[in-house]
Symmetry: C7
Subunit: 246 residues, 7 copies
């Protein structure tokens, strides 16, 4: 098969360039993300919201097990898609980075600094031998001195700022909703509804609290808070009427 043949030489060893200037191992790591569950985020001046699809293969899995949204510091968190164990390891490094910033400068790390720190770690794993790239993509959301921010980092280490963005297996469908419905004047509640609507396109069956993970950081409070299952249930209830209007 032509593709398998072409790729054969370049992916065995450490991350190297292919003749057309691509890094195969990085592209394969991107595939690992595409196999992951969907996560998305959105931000306005009012706040930033992160949401992630949760699939429980069994009734016996604990609620809240295998989280996809992580709190990093008081004002900042991240949603991950791709290899879960890779994500957890990077989140730990991000937490250290945030604490170091507190100790060193006696202030909270900015969302951008944190996103770049994670991007730098990821880049290093695409250039040096004896390691593979991280198979995970992050949406990093938080509130800093200049208000709410939403950043994405991909396996190659690219860092970009978004108003709203989706990653993972259902990124395409979720993005369609975000592009159509996002408005810069949305308040936090509306952002939550936007997130639910986008997730609803991706999730199998009815939207239920147990299929959703969610967090928000409001501009005023500067605090990153994971929503409880009850709060998510309530949000879904609140959203449904709106939803049914369509």
């Amino acid at each position: 098969m032509a593709f398998a043949q072409g790729g054969r030489g370049y992916d065995r060893a450490i991350t190297v360039f292919s003749p057309d200037g691509k890094l195969f191992q990085v592209q394969y790591a991107q595939e690992a993300v595409k196999r992951g569950y969907t996560a998305l985020g959105a931000k306005t001046k009012s706040g930033v919201i992160l949401a992630a699809e949760r699939r429980t293969t069994s009734e016996l899995v604990e609620d809240g097990s295998v989280e996809k949204i992580f709190k990093i510091d008081r004002h900042i968190g991240a949603a991950a898609s791709g290899l879960i164990a890779d994500a957890r390891v990077l989140i730990d490094r991000a937490r250290v980075e945030a604490q170091v910033n507190r100790l060193r400068y006696d202030e909270l790390i900015s969302v951008e600094s944190l996103a770049k720190a994670i991007g730098d770690i990821k880049q290093m794993y695409t250039q040096h031998g004896g390691v593979r790239p991280f198979g995970t993509r992050f949406l990093i959301g938080g509130v800093g001195e200049r208000g709410p921010h939403l950043f994405e980092t991909d396996p190659s280490g690219v860092v970009a700022a978004y108003k709203a963005h989706a990653i993972g297996g259902g990124a395409e469908e979720a993005t369609e909703v975000l592009e159509k419905d996002y408005r810069e004047d949305m308040n936090t509640e509306e952002l939550v509804n936007l997130a639910l609507k986008a997730l609803n396109k991706v999730i199998d069956g009815d939207l239920e609290a147990k299929k959703v993970e969610m967090a928000k950081a409001e501009a005023e409070k500067q605090e990153f808070i994971k929503l409880s299952p009850e709060e998510i249930s309530e949000a879904i209830e609140n959203w449904k009427p709106e939803s049914s209007e369509e």
Copy 2:
């Protein structure tokens, strides 16, 4: 053969991504677990129970030799499936981790912290060169301040919390029993019976004490205790009537 061909390029060297974003060496390590004996666990508010299949190929093997369930700290233990030597090495690290926690914070390590520490070690062995992943899966059970917990770690480093879960060669059959019979209001004795019933599906021939390894940690006592052969015998005796009711 198509599969052998496709996999050929990606598994020779250090753990790298295949074009579709998989880590072959990690998947092969998962196979090593599937070849292992069955282990399972279950928890409710009353406590947590771990059980493992024991196959003695010879009468000359000492009872209790080659244990699959390990005590890690006073309140916590683990059942392993897969490569036994890999498991023993990781258990040693877990014990150190638990002791360090006692020294550093003057308190017992939480079940979740310990599970994540093991997951982090496993993840590292899937990303760095010159090593192979651990060919073992753990069920980690214990009682902390917030009650009993049951976690699983797999060779990729994923950590998940379960109410009841089975790993190893007979995971599928054992899980069927767990899914059908598990109730959140079971007391410790009922958990033991549940475990025996699930193991009974997997074990060749009659269920006997010498074919079973078992441990429990009751919510009240906060102590992880391995059951003696006598206690297991007694439990089997107690369970059988119940069993025969079906």
Copy 3:
């Protein structure tokens, strides 16, 4: 296919020579740059200007996200083309280099010294094992004691000084404009117009502020300043009449 065959032996391992004395990995890294967006620069005695194409694939990307032009020190900056994450990492090293120079010699680093420092790092990544070359090309512009300077560094580590130069995917078309219209007596405003005209050849559709990143350093002020979207808009407005004259 002949090419694929020929290259097969030399690109798998660490950067080595091919029989005709080429370094394949370096050439493949050059391809990565050709796949990047266009950036350009120009300098006269009056100052130095850097400009880069910005393509926003979605309305939801934040303005100013994923910058291609970076400030390095008060008097110096760089435009990058190629792998963005590689560029960010090198820019960080350049900033450290500039600060070290301030501390050590109590003076600003010269544009040439900085360009050579970056070139040296890049060269090292083409000669030593266990790493791949950087997939990025820089235009480094700034004002030193001997006036404005513009340097380019490529993935092999070559450093060259230019009056005006373009890199990235549209380098060829942009260079045509630069070669035809550049004059050594241009003032900063004329340089801005020259840059806009060259970018206009490369950018899809109408030239708009959101498609352009720009920075300038005037000889007198010795300060590297990124233009705000408003300033770029204004520059485009100012340029258009001139442009329409043609």
Copy 4:
């Protein structure tokens, strides 16, 4: 040939997993043990006995040369099968381990602790790059505070406790004897006879002192003692009448 083909990819490099979750290098190391001479051990409450087949290819080899049974500490020793040089190196490490235990805790190392220490070293050589697994299997016998013990370690690092066990080329035939004749109430003398009977199945020609290496540790004396050729001769003499009874 199918097998050779299948194995080709996985055994060249460092110890890695094959698609079905096996570690080829470890399995090949197990083959090295099967090519080795037979060794066996047995223990009851009275004591523990180790015995090994000795084949002298030439009259010119010194008696007692190339020993297969090694004293490790006052109360503990081991019989090895497989690569002799690998065994000697591990025995040296075991001796250090035993001495360190004396210094650190002012008491003799337990047989189990020592067996696990050796197992841990062996496991490490199956997981890290740049080394091959040890091609040797040990029977470790000794007397501790809780009486006599017999452990086995294999090239993968698995540690198991046995009442009686045989390793090496003739393991199968020797085990048949052990399984048939072993009784938990045997005294040391009877254990010696059991060992001789098992070895007799394996050894070419008549059982003679020069074809046998032997050691014992009696529960009372807590001392591991290698039998002299004279003692072995005498033991063979004593055993023969019993033997002829059959």
Copy 5:
């Protein structure tokens, strides 16, 4: 093709010997030099002269950008051919070497010592793993206590002294001129003319100052001086009458 086949095995890995005792990677590095621009040098008792071809692909390249002749210390310099970035890195090391000599012995480094130091670095890169050879050849010229000297170092690390020598793409044609016209009694001016005549054979179109880089070190002054474009222009003017005589 036979050659490509034959070479296939030996050039992938680290620099190793081929069956006929050649070091392929070193030979390929020599090819890199042959692809470089021409450089040449000549010396008599009066002084030493270095000259190099300069090709400006664009009017927009700064004069004096990408230099091929480097000053190393007050009395010594070098002309390079081959990979420019490799050359720059080695020149930096040579400058350090020269300064260390001043500090350690309080005297200028001899031309021979410096040439051997560079040769030693180059040799090391042909014998140790994880690096590739330097793809550059140097002509090192300077004036020491025993008068002017001219040395060459090649990618294998060979160091040789010459009266006159040419390297790079046009080495053959340039050498013809040197061999025919060089005389040991030439003064510095005549050496300049010799260099111009040799370069003229290699350079496309008319000989112009912008196509030539040049440096000289006169025996009396013991100072290595790069000629300014004006001085080169003047030299070309002076040479042309002489040239037209032929």
Copy 6:
């Protein structure tokens, strides 16, 4: 060819196991020994004798050049067969080992300790990456507190004690003589004669002093002494009558 095919996969990389549990690189190193000249040794209570075949390819080689028998300490020496340079390096290590023993314990190293030290070094070179096994076999002879000893170490690190033994290309023929004629009551002179007779089977043409290297250590004197050519001549003279008796 079947063998070449089978071996192809296992000998390229570091010393690894073949599917049947062999270490190919070690076996190939054994071949290097078989290509070497013959060496032999013999010991009784009276003393120990070492002898080696010397082949002078040219009259111009110095007598005593390229020695095969080395003095290690006052009471101990070794004869080597295989790669001469490997042997010399190991002998140097053995000398250091012997001196360290003197310093540390204020007594001469025992022959057995020294043989095991060399065996340990050899073993390490068969298990760790980045090195090849030693291509040499030693006969180590000396006199300690418990009288004369003769040990052999092979490339795998195996150490064995012998009464008499031969290594190298003519080992088989020489061993035939040793097995037939060796008696445990031989005095040193008879041992010399035995060695000469064995070497005579191996050496081309007549036995002459220049074809023989020899050393002895008598039990009484505890001193390892290399015989001079004159002493060897004399020994040959003395032996010949005896020889002719046969």
Copy 7:
């Protein structure tokens, strides 16, 4: 072709054994020596002489450039054949070795010690990973307390003492002369004539001073002296009459 096929597997990686116990990389390094120019040496009680063929490809090469005979210490020197840069690096190490000996023992290093030190370095490069063997052979000559000595070291690290010996491309022809004409009672002058006669067999065209490098160390003076071109010319003149006698 069978040989090329067979050798293919063994020469790519680090120096390893082939199935018949050869070290391919070492043998290929020997080929590098055979491609080198001829060097030879001879010694008697009167002194030791070294001579080497010098081929000047161009009139423009400096006399005495690229030397093949190196002074190492006051009383000792070496002639090299093979890769010149490898030789220079080893000679530097030899000089350090000689100086260290002076400092440590306050006496001149013996010729044998120096030869063995070089042999040890060479051996190390044949056994450890990440390096290739040295592609050079040395004749080391000098005068010590026990008179003149001549040693050879080859790429494998073998060290041998000779009365007279030739290495490099013309070793065979030169050796023929040495074997035929060498006498142990030659004085230094006769040794010079012998060397010239042997070189004459190897050198193209007439024997001239510029084609010969030569050095001698007389027993009385204990000083290693390189002959000047004038002295070599004179020696050739003196030799020719004798030569014509034949």
